[in-house]
Amino acid sequence: MSTEPNEPKSRARQYLEVVTGPLEDKRRWRQYKARIKRLPGNYRTAAEALERYLMLFGPGDSADALDMFDDLAELFERGAADGTPIREIFGEDPVQFVETFVQSYSVGRWIKRERDRFTGAIDRAAGEDTVGKDGTDQ
């Protein structure tokens, strides 16, 4: 919360960020990691397992992916404060919870994009090409 998000960046900083990616994103990521570290033992274990799983989905535009991790940190902080058992947070099928969860973020959109691409490829293979060349409808 220290730097103003709209403050113009110095040229040196601009060049640096071409190489490193936005520094704000890195700062937010460190803050998220620190929040997870502060969680009580089993909440932390669960949050880290979830983080590892989400990383497998790969791309997602990073500011939006960071929103996702912030929201997850909040879920676990809230759960720990209320004493909600881990099983009640995740349910019997943790994968189903994650699938519902990622749909709101760019990580989820990335998965949806690949599903749409796959569906489009099958449409074309079936001779029912109704989708434009750029992969969008109409």
């Binding site: 929201d71 909040e74 879920l75 902080e77 809230r78 759960g79 720990a80 404060a81 209320d82 909600t84 009640e88 947070i89 995740f90 349910g91 019997e92 099928d93 189903q96 919870f97 519902t100 969860f101 749909q103 709101s104």
Partner: protein, 111 residues
């Protein structure tokens, strides 16, 4: 809660959450607790939270942060005009589905 109920619930849970919020504003934990009381005993707090995040990002609810003694502030969700519209659509779809399934069930009972 059986596997079949879990599967069926997947498609309608968003509508259920909107319906709950149309009665009065609530936070995630309250909604999950209410669902569990109503017999949806396997409902995951995370799943309800995921739906709340989604409907918030789609602009169907207004959010107010209420400080709590422990942990982060509680986010209290209330249905806005767009949310009410979406809920009306949900109930229309539900009526259609319930009516057709009812017909199918009655048809199956005939000799």
């Amino acid at each position: 809660m059986g596997k079949q109920l879990t599967e069926m619930l997947k498609g309608v849970l968003e509508g259920i959450v909107l319906a709950i919020l149309s009665v009065r504003p609530a936070y995630g934990y309250e909604i999950t607790a209410w669902l569990r009381d109503q017999g949806f005993s396997d409902i995951a707090e995370g799943t309800v939270y995921a739906l709340l995040v989604r409907i918030e990002r789609r602009g169907l609810v207004d959010v107010e942060k209420i400080p709590s003694e422990k942990g982060p502030p509680r986010k209290v969700y209330s249905l806005n005009a767009q949310g009410h519209e979406h809920l009306d659509e949900f109930w229309e779809t539900w009526s259609f589905l319930a009516e057709r399934l009812g017909q199918l069930r009655e048809g199956g009972k005939q000799p």
